[in-house]
């Protein structure tokens, strides 16, 4: 019996692209995005079971991505059955992106920052209460030192 090649499974997972990264012009596969935290391969039965998470709890593309993953996995040699479920409660943050993919995304964004000369806010100029009050003289007269209305 020939086992299911894990590398082929990984490639299949990455052939399905995260829509948001694609929209940014830096398409990342679901595995690279850290959206497939659980992948179980059963060589004996030829079954692959994947649990997905989403970048946002209300991502509308979840079911579409899950179907696409099942189709890609079904084409992997040795796979007789592929099942993908979505764990809508699973947390994801950008820290879940695989390091190489994260670098690619960061490079894309660095390019944007340099081309458009984006500068972060100068927080050293922020004096919280003064800044709040300074924007509105009438409000200023009614605020205490913590920003609360008197």
């Amino acid at each position: 019996m020939t086992g299911i090649d894990r590398h082929a499974v990984d490639e299949a997972l990455d052939r399905v692209v995260d829509p948001c990264s694609n929209a940014l012009g830096e398409p990342l596969g679901l595995r690279e995005m850290g959206l497939t935290p659980s992948v179980d391969i059963d060589d004996a039965s030829g079954t692959v079971t994947v649990t997905m998470r989403l970048t946002s709890p209300c991502c509308e593309y979840g079911p579409t991505m899950a179907l696409a993953v099942e189709q890609e996995l079904a084409a992997v040699p040795g796979v007789r059955s592929a099942t993908v479920t979505i764990d809508y409660g699973a947390a994801w943050t950008p820290a879940e992106i695989m390091p190489n993919a994260s670098v690619r995304l960061a490079e894309r964004r660095s390019h944007t920052i340099s081309v458009f000369d984006v500068q972060p806010y100068e927080w050293s100029t922020w004096k919280s209460t003064e800044s709040l009050q300074g924007s509105d003289p009438l409000l200023t007269s009614r605020l205490d030192s913590t920003g609360a209305l008197s």
Binding site: P19, C20, N22, A23, L24, T55, S56, P57, C58, E60, Y61, T64, Y88, G89, A91, W92, T93, P94, R109, T112, I113, F116, V118, Q119, P120, Y121, E122, W123, W126, S128, T129, S131, L132, S135, D136, L138, L139, T140, S141, R142, L143, D144, T146, G147, A148, L149, S150
Partner: protein, 380 residues
């Protein structure tokens, strides 16, 4: 007010989620999706029962919920033009008129426009709605419609700039656009935010509000906040991450504060999408995790910074004198009722009108779902 700080909910929605209002093939799916999101994002104590939620929600009940059950002082209503999904667009023009007529000191209104109808029809529509609500303060767009699918770019000089010019002529201050969260299985590109930048550049005297900022394209939105003084991030639904994925909320907030600073983020919950109080309390008590403070070198989320996000930023964006406005509503009927009741529990008002206690209705729903073999929140 929360602990003495004025609170403006930057988007509220008395939805018409009645079955008869859903339209076409996708409308019923979106109607169901709204309830699924509501029931999965909120803990049981702040969920509305399905039968209440998937109905034509009333303006009166929502305002009572906001002003008697939460610390919200002023609500911003967006007329919605999801015309290809819901017969009345989901939050109707009529409700905008009612809101301004019945609650003029506690509400502001954005008119709802659908630029996919073309310039001439959109301008006529704007003028009709403006005649109904002459003190409206902004307009709201959705980036696409379905059946047939059609979309637009915010920076299209032919299709959109004449609309912005009319917005300006009418004295409206802000153009809000739904972004980041696609309405069903539609192309994602119109939900990117890059087209807002071109519009903001061409119309520096208008403000542009990215609604649902932080749900996707977080860095790109943050760059836009940094680059354009007239681009703002509206946290409708994003604020619910505080309930479901608080670290994700912190990451989005920290990124936008780092790039955009303290004046560009606008608090909103989208109530009745959620009850307005719980996320507000979570935000009020929020401190950024130490690693985010270190990474972004941000100051503490103190009262003044939260006061900006919770109300001052929206007021500044549209040119409202918040101090004067708060003074004008101090001691009004809402204030007296909230003081007298001491702040009602979530959905007390709605329950009174439905004639059944909130948690009793939720328990009955659970029981019915269990008997039918459904999981909570599943379609009936």
């Amino acid at each position: 007010m929360i602990d003495g700080i004025p609170v403006i909910d930057g988007v509220v929605h008395p939805f018409n989620l009645s079955e008869s209002n859903a339209k076409g093939a996708i409308g019923p799916l979106v109607r169901e999706g709204f309830y699924q999101l509501h029931s999965h994002w909120n803990p049981a104590e702040t969920q509305a029962p399905r039968s209440w939620f998937q109905a034509d929600q009333s303006v009166t009940t929502l305002m009572d919920t906001l002003c008697l059950e939460s610390a919200v002082d002023v609500a911003v209503y967006h007329t919605l033009r999801l015309d290809s999904l819901f017969h009345d667009g989901l939050c109707s023009r009529a409700k905008a008129v009612q809101l301004r007529a019945e609650h003029p000191t506690r509400s502001f209104v954005y008119l709802g426009l659908d630029p996919t109808l073309g310039v001439a029809r959109t301008l006529d529509d704007l003028d009709e709605q403006f005649a109904e609500v002459p003190d409206a303060i902004g307009v709201k767009f959705y980036p696409d419609q379905v059946d047939p699918y059609r979309t637009f770019r915010m920076d299209d000089p032919e299709a959109l700039f004449p609309i912005y010019e009319r917005v300006r002529e009418r004295g409206l201050k802000v153009v809000a656009v739904h972004k980041a969260l696609p309405n069903g299985p539609v192309p994602l590109a119109p939900y990117r935010i890059d087209d807002v930048e071109g519009a903001a550049m061409a119309f520096p005297d208008l403000s542009f509000e990215i609604v649902h900022a932080g749900m996707a394209f977080v860095d790109e939105t943050a760059y836009a906040l940094a680059r354009f003084p007239n681009v703002f991030a509206n946290f409708e639904v994003t604020s619910l991450l505080l309930l479901k994925a608080p670290r994700l909320f912190q990451e989005a907030l920290a990124t936008m504060l780092f790039w955009g600073g303290p004046t560009k983020i606008i608090w909103a919950t989208g109530a009745n999408f959620t009850h307005p109080q719980l996320a507000l309390e979570k935000f009020w008590n929020l401190e950024l995790d130490g690693d985010l403070v270190d990474r972004y070198q941000l100051p503490p989320l103190d009262r003044a910074l939260k006061a900006r996000i919770l109300g001052q930023n929206w007021a500044d964006m549209v040119g409202i004198d918040l101090g004067a406005h708060m003074a004008s509503i101090a001691g009004d009927d809402w204030d007296r009722r909230r003081d007298a009741d001491g702040g009602l529990a979530p959905y007390t008002v709605w329950a009174d009108r439905m004639g059944v206690a909130h948690l009793e209705a939720m328990a009955a729903q659970e029981t019915a779902a269990g008997a039918a073999g459904f999981q909570h929140g599943a379609p009936t």
